[in-house]
Symmetry: C2
Subunit: 494 residues, 2 copies
């Protein structure tokens, strides 16, 4: 009793509005944040209650047992545990809208690529790095060892399982001890570069390419993603006899695969291409790239979404090197990678300035944006979509503990964020669900709920390159998928 | 020639104001940022040129050789390389103003503590964890082994160097393989807790305590820091005969040490005490703490700066538990730890709300603040000092690569930041220079220059608890130290 009186006694000395003021602050931050203005139907609220119960369970356990919170470590350390999460299972089943930042050659994972090595006419060079090439005769390109028929090498292997495991390793960055293997961004990007070198000749064999992208679209649809904007360097496809095609042929192969896929799956909204060649080139080559982009835009306007430059941003040329040329090409629609860096105040960091000034419709990554208050306002005002790839940024050595990812700031300011997965095949992640899960549980506020997930899904359509009419249709389509997800939701099945 | 024409041809298609617009963005971000409004004298500009030449050398080398950029790793991995840096040497020589966030029992490093173990009347208990106690007879407190005189144990050791090395290890968190030893915040804080348990009975022996804080002030002055606000749990001091004193005695010992130090070093500005007991207590104990704070404030008003609560923030009680009591005690001046967490949207995270609403003069760490746009505005408006401890946050497992530390955002928005070092003795860092160096090179923009360093030093006085007249004097004193640093600066000596 004395204790109670003491509390009351001290309490009266408090500002009587203390808790009201406190609520106002907490609530206004939630209202400002992404999703904060959305209201949910009563059935959506039921789903949300189920979702949040599981989210709180996961996070509160982790808070009390931080040594059991995997998401503070490298993605490779916890990725295999994700499927156990109920929150993850709900997210997996949820329509997630579109995927807007994905690189074509790293969409599907290593098992798919291993299967390709079972195809006929594949030669292998078992050098320090393993190389492949489809050919109807022994390739005459350099091989530090000698070119052999893959089928024969495999047949000669003592243990095919072990042999295939070794081959599979070439198709993934995943390792058991990532902190040892990838101590800095240099080792990570070296491995990443090697991955692309190895995969390139497997996928660019023309018959495979056409099938591969169809299968990639299938993977997205299976993950409840219904529209895709794919970035491609437009690698030159080749035939068994050594014929090499121009980039326009690759673009046409895209068109063909997309058409076939949409015939087979009429509920799919579609796919578009962002031509995204390497940024580490001189101005002459860049001019050729811009020419190619124009050519594709003119001949396949419905396929062509826009233009970008790719590769490790710190190691490539900054945008400012190309400003005069890019100024002259703004009608191509820019979707530049910018700010995928930890180096504050460098030329790379300033790519964000040029991306904004060059009128980019969206920015790839924008990881460094939170340090740039002026640009941040411009991004918000101009509604430049930010394609955030949390898992990629973790795997590619920008951030380890995802709770430190600047997406949490982007969300708190309701910046025009879309979530994407960059190169999920290279790190054996889901097409999109892993990124949604990690962003929702590991990055966003504990209090972020279904409204955040739904807004992120809607953002992916809002900031897409679809023309206004198609965008409206796509959003209607999303709502129909979403409503059926909500209607059929049964908390007991998670 | 054709190439040039091509460039010119494309160039004319550019917005003629492109580069002017670009400069305006870059410059306005620099102007908005901390230090952006300061102008330098011509001699300061010379110093700045020297400083920035070395900074660019270091950063540009690291940018091109990211595998050689230590600051992306754990502090323990690179700390021994810091003294080689010329930027560091300049910073070391530079007056850095005041230190406002430091915990008394972890100011001086393990060698100092090892020396204490050579004193008479020290008993040791060589259990799983080593315990110490000064006493004039064998202690009767629990010991899982048996209490022995330290001098005898050392004499009996086969190899005194190895024995001392083992003892020294008890006084530091530094290990060769931090990523293995400290995989998560749990292991780090367990080790940190053990550190304090071990050190506590060594330092709280009354004669040592009085000398220790004097020596701590000496260490700050040697690092060009001239004013100190020290946080203390006010541990109960004891004598050889087992007498234990009340907390007020510890406070008096502070007063005595400070007076003696200022007599010996008349150029020192002074020191004040923030009473900061552990936050993991019930309301009754908290009331006692508040009483003690009042008692010290009344009896030694010139010593007492304010009140705080300490300990691992996630594991302790959130401020909201104590709001009624704290509301009634705002005249104590609050300097709360708040937002020293990675858990967005939790009760811990919301400590920031209560710290602001309870009228805290400064906030300790505020690590989570960047995710809170409303609070961020309030902090700026109310000019609540943010005591940022980058090395501490790295060692205590909030962030690994310091380039991801939110200080970069605080700097870009010119929030009321002061740099501090928290517990440098526990991780064998400088009193303050390491934190300044790492913040300047590893966190701030590459373009951040002497104006940032000078502003940070001035901020430490501006946001101190000195009364207005004393503050003015302290700032005048700083300018005099600063001017002599600038006048005597010789780039060739670095």
């Amino acid at each position: 009793m004395r204790y109670l009186i003491l509390i009351l006694f001290t309490y009266v000395k408090c500002d009587p509005d203390y808790f009201a003021k406190r609520n106002r602050i907490v609530e206004s931050e939630l209202r400002i944040a992404l999703g904060g203005n959305m209201s949910l139907t009563s059935k959506e609220n039921e789903v949300n209650n189920c979702l949040m119960r599981h989210k709180f369970d996961e996070l509160d356990y982790a808070f009390n047992n931080p040594d059991n919170f995997g998401l503070s470590h490298h993605f490779f350390k916890y990725k295999d545990n994700i499927p156990k999460s109920k929150v993850y299972k709900i997210i997996k089943d949820m329509p997630k809208g579109a995927i807007l930042h994905i690189h074509d050659m790293a969409i599907i994972g290593p098992d798919y690529l291993l299967n390709i090595t079972y195809m006929d006419n594949l030669y292998v060079c078992l050098g320090k790095q393993i190389s492949f090439l489809f050919s109807n005769k022994v390739p005459n390109t350099t091989c530090e060892n000698r070119w052999e028929l893959m089928s024969e090498v495999r047949r000669a292997a003592k243990n095919v399982t072990a042999f295939d495991a070794k081959i599979r390793k070439q198709f993934t960055l995943v390792v058991k001890n990532p902190d040892i293997v990838y101590p800095t961004i240099k080792e990570t990007w070296t491995a990443f570069g090697n991955f692309f070198s190895t995969v390139h000749p497997l996928l660019t064999y023309r018959p495979i390419w056409e099938k591969y992208f169809y299968d990639a679209l299938k993977a997205f649809r299976d993950d409840n993603v219904y529209y895709v904007e794919v970035r491609s360097i437009l690698p030159n496809l080749y035939e068994l006899d050594g014929t090499v095609f121009e980039k326009i042929v690759t673009a046409k192969a895209y068109k063909k695969a997309i058409h076939k896929f949409m015939r087979d799956y009429p509920d799919f909204v579609g796919a578009k291409l962002i031509f995204a060649p390497n940024r580490k080139v001189n101005r002459t080559i860049l001019s050729e790239y811009i020419q190619t982009a124009r050519q594709i835009k003119n001949s396949m306007p419905e396929l062509f979404a826009g233009f970008d430059l790719v590769g490790q941003e710190d190691a490539g040329n900054p945008l400012i090197e190309f400003v005069p040329q890019l100024c002259a090409a703004t009608n191509l629609n820019f979707f530049f990678h910018a700010g995928e860096t930890n180096w504050f105040g460098t030329m790379t960091d300033e790519n964000l300035v040029d991306a904004v000034l060059l009128g980019a419709k969206r920015i790839g990554h924008a990881y460094a944006l939170a340090k740039h208050p002026v640009l941040l306002e411009m991004v918000k005002e101009k509604q430049i979509g930010l394609e955030v790839n949390v898992v990629s940024n973790s795997v590619l050595s920008l951030v380890r503990d995802v709770r430190n990812h600047p997406l949490n700031i982007f969300l708190s300011l309701n910046l025009p964020v879309v979530l994407s997965s960059d190169d999920p095949g290279a790190w054996e992640a889901d097409p999109l669900s892993d990124d949604f899960y990690i962003s929702f549980v590991g990055v966003a506020s504990r209090l972020a709920d279904l409204r955040v997930l739904k807004t992120l899904a809607l953002n992916s359509l809002k900031y897409s390159a679809l023309d206004p009419a198609a965008k409206t249709l796509a959003i209607t389509h999303f709502h129909s998928k979403w409503n059926s997800f909500i209607e059929n939701f049964d908390c007991r099945s998670y």
